[in-house]
């Protein structure tokens, strides 16, 4: 319990750090950049929102930095994250694009995690064999390849040359969103290439930790004991070795989500897939500071939630932790 309390503390401190980064950026931005942002907003948003922005930059404002800081923190804690350059509330803008990214990233992460973990387990089981010699290094090397390159290759082969799959967007132009089978099929077709890009690059993130932990676990006496009891090898590997190898590493695994989210930004840009990542990209070209800040905070929150969930999961499932 105390462990969880400490983790929660880290959670809060990290959120605070993210908020502070958000606050500092406009303050230290070079002058011409600041002007560019303000210029973008002057034309489109209402005066109140413009004022809020000016407070952030510290221009036209008769407040000390600290007062502005606390006001800013207060705004964030009450959910006031400002408006985008199109005068839409940041929160609702994020909310509308969230499902697309959630679907893409959520599903691919699960798939990649399963692939990585299973590959790691098999490699450890047949250590020194052909599988072990080929799969983990390949997956690992793949994970060092920038995800957009994998995407480029896939686009070139499957979309441009072969024309089998669409090269951009989340559904075909002109299609109306609905829950019909044809629309869902269309969505899936558009999600395949981005999805594969993400899976290929992220599966490797989990292979090595899993493999090395599994190798250590397999050499434990209780695994030998399980064999001695006459249990089938598959049962030994899954019930005794596998389970014990994964659990202590769940948190480490969750920390990799940050990298996956980063990858999703590049992928969405490449495929013009209108999710949060693409939004993040357009906010840079549009000089849309509030949107960027909101998204950055959101991403941080997402990682923190995953890490906390992993911690919780571990604490609940590991009998040794329950006492603590």
């Amino acid at each position: 319990m105390r462990y969880l309390a400490r983790r929660l503390g880290l959670f809060v401190v990290t959120l605070w750090a993210a908020l502070t980064v958000n606050f500092i950026i406009p303050r230290v931005m070079p002058g011409n950049e600041a002007q560019a942002v303000l210029a973008t907003f002057r034309g489109t948003v209402n005066p109140a929102a413009l004022k809020a922005l000016e407070i952030q930059f510290g221009t036209n404002v008769h407040q000390s930095v600290f007062a502005s800081y606390f006001q800013y923190l207060g705004n964030c804690l009450t959910g006031h994250f400002g408006v985008t350059a199109q005068n839409v509330s940041v929160v609702s803008e994020i909310g509308s694009k969230l499902p697309w990214t959630l679907g893409l990233v959520g599903i691919t992460t699960v798939i990649a995690f399963v692939i990585g973990t299973v590959a790691g387990a098999i490699s450890a089981w047949r250590r020194g064999g052909r599988f072990d010699g080929i799969v983990p290094p390949s997956l690992f090397v793949l994970s060092t390849v920038p995800v957009f390159f994998v995407g480029l290759l896939l686009i070139y082969v499957f979309a441009v040359k072969l024309g089998w799959l669409p090269l951009e967007g989340n559904y075909s132009i002109g299609a109306t969103p609905s829950f019909s089978a044809s629309f869902i099929g269309d969505v899936l077709k558009h999600a395949i290439l981005p999805g594969i890009s993400l899976v290929v690059v992220t599966a490797g993130l989990w292979v090595y930790s899993m493999r090395n932990n599994m190798v250590t676990t397999i050499s434990e006496d209780y695994v030998k004991m399980a064999r001695a009891k006459g249990l089938k090898e598959t049962r030994v590997m899954s019930g005794y070795a596998g389970r014990n190898a994964i659990l202590p590493n769940l948190t480490g695994f969750a920390m990799q989500i940050g990298y996956v989210l980063g990858g999703s930004i590049a992928v969405e840009y490449l495929f013009s897939y209108p999710g949060l990542g693409y939004l993040f990209y357009t906010s840079t070209t549009d000089h849309d500071l509030p949107l960027m800040q909101g998204l950055f905070l959101f991403y941080t929150l997402a990682v923190l939630v995953c890490v906390l969930l992993a911690d919780l999961f571990t604490a609940v499932l590991d009998p040794r932790m329950r006492e603590a």
Partner: protein, 309 residues
């Protein structure tokens, strides 16, 4: 990086191995090390002597536009009529230099933070650890983009933002290593002599960690290559500079894949992947050499699979 993360014990055996001169032999025997070393050597050579390899000027827009690979233009030309191959070759230098500088600085910061935290202990340790954890959890690419958007585009900004986001990667490992070294006799002797903490950290502790430092440097390089290219690909670099990432950006802006010369878009990406792999292989091999537990178990004869049936 995942590989070094999985190391439970810091690779101290490397020091002994170097002393006995077996290190070089171990490197030679390890296939991954050799491949990685070759890749990096080729890259370094290309970076040092691009003129020897590239047939044309990288920026001269003299040749036919968007033409496919041919005899005189191995990778075709860009939308502006520049030779892609020459551009690729000449871009190696800046790309490699940025990578190495960032890795070096980040490793340095990492070491200072990690070892100081280990050495000072107590409240200083806790504070430094929290700061490290924060930077570890903050998602890297979003932070990079946020910072890079508002700094003047160019390699200097790239170096700055990359250093800010990369230093935390290895700080934890370096701290663990620092902790194991902290109470050794030679340090107690140094303290007894009255040496200042800074001196102790720099002169006494850091040299024992050379293997971990090299491993950290290599791990970081793997990721810096990719992140730098990604940032530039997203348009946050200076598109006029000669780097692989900016080539990718320009190619993407010109829809090279569909409408122009696909190689213009793919070749720089492949180069980035290759450089990253080179560092990764070397890193992987380095870990194996230092930590025998991770080495592949070579099966000698056909095993009689009794116990594991």
């Amino acid at each position: 990086m995942a590989v070094t993360e999985a190391l439970s014990e810091p690779p101290l055996e490397i020091e002994a191995a170097v002393a006995r001169g077996r290190f070089l032999r171990a490197v030679m025997r390890n296939r991954k090390a050799v491949i990685g070393a070759i890749i990096l050597f080729v890259m370094a050579f290309t970076a040092a002597f691009p003129g020897l390899i590239a047939p044309h000027s990288p920026t001269a827009a003299l040749y036919g536009q968007n033409s496919p690979p041919s005899g005189s233009h191995l990778l075709g030309t860009t939308q502006l009529g520049q030779d892609v191959f020459s551009q690729l070759v000449w871009s190696t230098r800046l790309t490699l230099v940025v990578t190495l500088i960032v890795s070096a600085i980040a490793t340095l910061i990492s070491t200072v933070v990690g070892v100081t935290a280990a050495y000072l202990g107590g409240a200083a340790d806790r504070v430094l650890t929290v700061i490290t954890d924060i930077f570890l959890i903050l998602p890297v690419l979003p932070l990079l983009i946020l910072l890079a958007t508002y700094l003047p585009p160019g390699p200097t900004s790239l170096v700055i933002v990359l250093c800010i986001t990369s230093w935390a990667f290895q700080a934890r490992q370096l701290r663990s290593q620092g902790l194991t070294v902290r109470n050794r006799d030679f340090l107690v002797a140094a303290r007894a002599r009255g040496e200042r903490s800074f001196y102790i950290i720099l002169v006494e502790i850091v040299p024992t960690m050379t293997s971990l430092l090299v491993a950290s440097f290599l791990s970081l390089a793997v990721y810096v290559v990719g992140f730098a290219a990604t940032l530039q690909f997203l348009g946050l670099g200076n598109s006029g500079e000669l780097m692989w990432g900016t080539m990718l950006y320009n190619a993407q802006q010109a829809s090279a894949l569909e409408a122009g010369n696909a190689w213009w878009a793919l070749a720089p990406g492949a180069a980035v992947a290759l450089l990253g792999s080179g560092f990764a292989l070397l890193n992987y091999a380095f870990d194996e050499i230092g930590n025998p537990a991770l080495r592949p178990v070579r099966r000698r004869r056909k095993r009689r699979d009794r116990a594991s049936a």
